[in-house]
Amino acid sequence: MPVQLSTEPLELAARLVELAAAAGADQSDAVAIASTNASTTVRKQQLEKVSESTSRSVGLRVIIDGRQATVSTSDVSDAALAETVQTALELARVSEPDPHAGLADPRDQARQTPQLALFDEALPNLDAEYRLSQALACESAALDADDRIANSGGASFGANLSSFALVDSNGFAGTYSSTSASVGVEVMAKEQDGSLRNAGWSSSERSLHRLDDPAAVGREAAARALRQLGATKGATCEVPVVWEPRIAAGLAGIIAGAASGDALYRRATFLADHQDQQIASPLLNIIDDSTLSGRLGSRPFDGEGVVTRRNPLVQQGVFQGFLFDAYNARRLDAATTGSAGRGIGGLPYISSGNLIIEPGDTSPDDIIGAIDDGLYLTTLMGFGINYTTGDFSRGAAGIWIRNGELAEPVQEVNVSGNLLDMFQRIDAVGSDAQWFGGVSAPTIRMSRMTVSGV
């Protein structure tokens, strides 16, 4: 992968801030991102797609008399940068004053860039041959796992290098580089009638040494397709539901989304009015942490230059508080939690870091073993989460639990409840936490949910 990550993003961002100041902005900050993306996809052991690109773009925010505007461009020529500044100032002048608009307080910003091991030196050296070999190994392990694996949606191996820079007119200037690698595959197992059951599996990490072995990823995808063979539609009932770790990881994302300080300001979250209250079973502990070494959700400073930290979200079932960027903190009289995300375009927004559902002390076998009749969830589908009310209703597939054992596969059912009830009904948390990208989660059991089926 031919790549040169240079200091250029930092220089570009600094230049935009200088130009904005010279043109009359009261305050400004600029983001620049340079990246290289490479991926190789194979299907049925034949090369299907090779892509490699380098990319660069910049974004500027200006504030004049409390009026703010953002402008971004993928053209970084001198003329385009000058035009970007002019456009930003013009837009800001016709905007309206917002008393809370502004940069982060310099006292909250990072003075140095902590070393979080986000860059794997091995990744820039991965050439197309290597990516091809990994994708082939992943898919062949899946195809060879069983005679009933009859088709493939393809396997791919991807690598990304990215360099992020943020400069603001208060003097903050920070930059860091990061890498990520991923490998994944989707395969289909064939029923006796010729119809197919598909499943995919993948691994995604900042460093190559943490990435799962491609063959293990392939075998897991095959096993998951095979265990859905013979799936039938389940019955309508109210039963205990066990969330396998990968599905349980989604619960951490739901809590983090509902804990957004922006959603709180809009009162569009079911966690509004619940700070310091028992919103879940005492077994549940969830932490947002951007400071972990080498993790996908880690960052040395946030999208406003603020120091990142560990933010407990749920401790023994008690909701600890919301995540804030500087803007939402100001308008709700709170403090930033170092949770500003930042893209090239638009204002900072609230974004969590790594999310960790802490493991409990029950083995997954014991969690399943205690159930006479219930659903082991392996798939969720659709968008059925209402963050304002907490109503949850989503399509599902999984395995029926009968007399404490995983029995026959089920599909085309729906699981539903209200999230505040569902979190209270967590009656077991597994000891088997696993990482899925930037989220770690164990098996979780809820004592009762509504399953809709036949």
């Binding site: 490699e52 505007a69 953002t70 837009l91 309508t236 809009r266 009015d273 036949v454």
Partner: protein, 488 residues
């Protein structure tokens, strides 16, 4: 005025230095290792966004995104590279990268590019909204905000935003074809929160299309805002939805999401070429009730999913997918149409120059039937009436699909009665379409608010449907009905 294809070609030559000679040079580099076909997709997109909250403008945003995506095809395989740098050197470098997919030598014929004219002009506009003075747009946002608050005293928050873009695309191929298109897109969104005694309910509504400010000639900001407010207030009285399998009546318009998920994705030819769709090898077979005819139509006037030419440079058209229940055709891109030995259907689309094209829907709808919509409701003893949705998803391989209902009602004894809380519906594509037992005469297209995601790429689409009765679909509510199941 919108640019004609000739204007777009002139824009690239004069503003960005991308002319026929440059394109020929880059294409030659792309075929330098003997690929069988190469294509350049140039995109120049200006977009803007304006958001309004707390009764004032919160943020204004503008962005420029430009670059070229270079694809080299060798059999079923592709090499892809893009660059934002449109200098000849940078483009040729990217072309060499994309050329890696092939392993032959440079024995290609010289490429002679010629601008192709075509007979389609589906979204010409008088004035691009991206050039409209901001104050004029702010006025629309303020009118929406006022109208939502005036609708009901429980409306505690209103957020309005408007996003628009003008995109100039130029596609140049190694077969010499060069086509250009100017594609406007506008969308206006309102979200409302109703709060009564601490009980909060929210709703979103919006619309738009491939047009400029003319959108507001037929749709006022007030009507969009009042609709969002009405749905939020309605939710205050909503009951728990039932759990189990019941008849479902889908209202005309947005319910077209059913088709998009139940059959649309499954008929995209890439999945069928790979035989990973549950509709693979089913052309000519019955896949739905005889009442069902489904069309994907890129030609609708100024609709969000319409295009003149697709992102591979093929003329986009109107394609019959299912005729009276029988599967007629898949939606094709270049690679799949080569595989199936059919003409490309103009469905090769992509999110941007950073993405390779694949078969995608444009505007997908079911044709009108003979039933009176109210008769379809009357035929149901107990079921669900669905009117507004937040999204859907499908598993292509096993055919299971879902969609989430944000405005729904119980049907009791042939009458629409109480509103129900948000609920997800799940079904299997061919099974649900075989259970279509009534189709209304009231075909309606949704307003332009839908975006379709596939393999990490988003494209604007349209959906449409007349009122439809499905005799049974699984409703994922929380209310157990007597006799509807067992309890552990």
């Amino acid at each position: 005025m919108s640019d004609s294809p000739t204007d777009v070609i002139g824009f690239y030559a004069q503003q960005l230095g991308v002319d026929e000679a440059a394109a020929e040079s880059v294409l030659s580099a792309a075929l330098g290792r003997g690929g069988s076909f190469a294509e350049l997709y140039f995109e120049h997109k200006r977009s803007g966004s304006l958001s309004f909250e707390d009764q004032r403008v919160k943020a204004t945003q503008a962005s420029l995104s430009q670059g070229v995506g270079i694809r080299v095809v060798e059999g079923d395989a592709i090499g892809y590279a893009y660059t934002e740098d449109l200098s000849l050197d940078a483009m040729r470098r990217a072309a060499h990268t994309a050329a890696q997919i092939a392993h032959g030598s440079d024995d290609a014929e010289p490429i002679d590019v010629t601008a192709a004219s075509y007979d389609a002009d589906r979204y010409a506009i008088d004035a691009p909204s991206t050039a409209t003075p901001l104050a004029e747009k702010v006025d629309l946002l303020r009118r929406a905000d006022d109208a939502a608050r005036a609708w009901n005293s429980s409306i505690a928050r209103v957020d309005v935003n408007m996003v628009d873009e003008e995109k100039r695309v130029l596609i140049v191929r190694s077969d010499g074809r060069m086509v250009a298109d100017y594609q406007p897109l506008l969308r206006f969104n309102v979200s409302c929160l109703s709060e009564i005694d601490g009980e909060r309910r929210s709703a979103r509504w919006g619309g738009g299309g491939r047009m400029g400010m003319v959108y507001f000639d037929s749709q006022s900001p007030e009507s969009l805002a009042e609709e969002a407010a009405r749905q939020a207030v309605l939710q205050q009285e909503a009951r728990e939805a039932p759990a189990g399998t019941f008849p479902v009546v889908l209202a005309a318009g947005d319910s077209g999401i059913l088709l998009h998920e139940a059959v649309g994705h499954g008929l995209e030819a890439d999945f069928n070429r790979k035989q990973t769709s549950n509709y693979s090898n089913r052309i000519g077979h019955a896949v739905a009730s005889e009442l069902v005819t489904v069309i994907d139509d890129a030609t609708l006037d100024r609709s969000r999913g319409s295009v003149n030419v697709d992102d591979e440079g093929e003329l986009a058209g109107r394609n019959l997918l299912i005729e009276n229940g029988q599967l007629a055709a898949y939606m094709q891109d270049r690679i799949s149409s080569d595989h199936f030995k059919v003409t490309p259907s103009g469905n090769g689309r992509r999110q941007s120059f950073r993405h390779a094209p694949m078969p995608r829907m444009t505007n997908t709808y079911m044709t009108a039937g003979a039933d009176a919509p109210e008769d379809l409701v009357r035929r149901v003893d107990f079921g669900i009436y669905c009117k507004a949705f937040s999204g859907g998803q499908v598993n292509i391989t096993n055919g299971d699909f879902v969609f989430s209902v944000t405005e729904g009602y119980l049907i009791e004894n042939g009458q629409i009665t109480a509103p129900i809380r948000d609920v997800n519906l799940i079904g299997n594509g061919p099974d649900v379409l075989s259970k279509v037992t009534g189709v209304g005469h009231d075909l309606e297209m949704s307003d332009g608010r839908w975006t379709c995601g596939k393999a990490g790429q988003s494209v604007p689409v349209g959906v449409g449907i007349p009122t439809v009765l499905v005799s049974g679909m699984t409703v994922g509510g929380t209310q157990m009905r007597p006799g509807a199941g067992m309890s552990a």
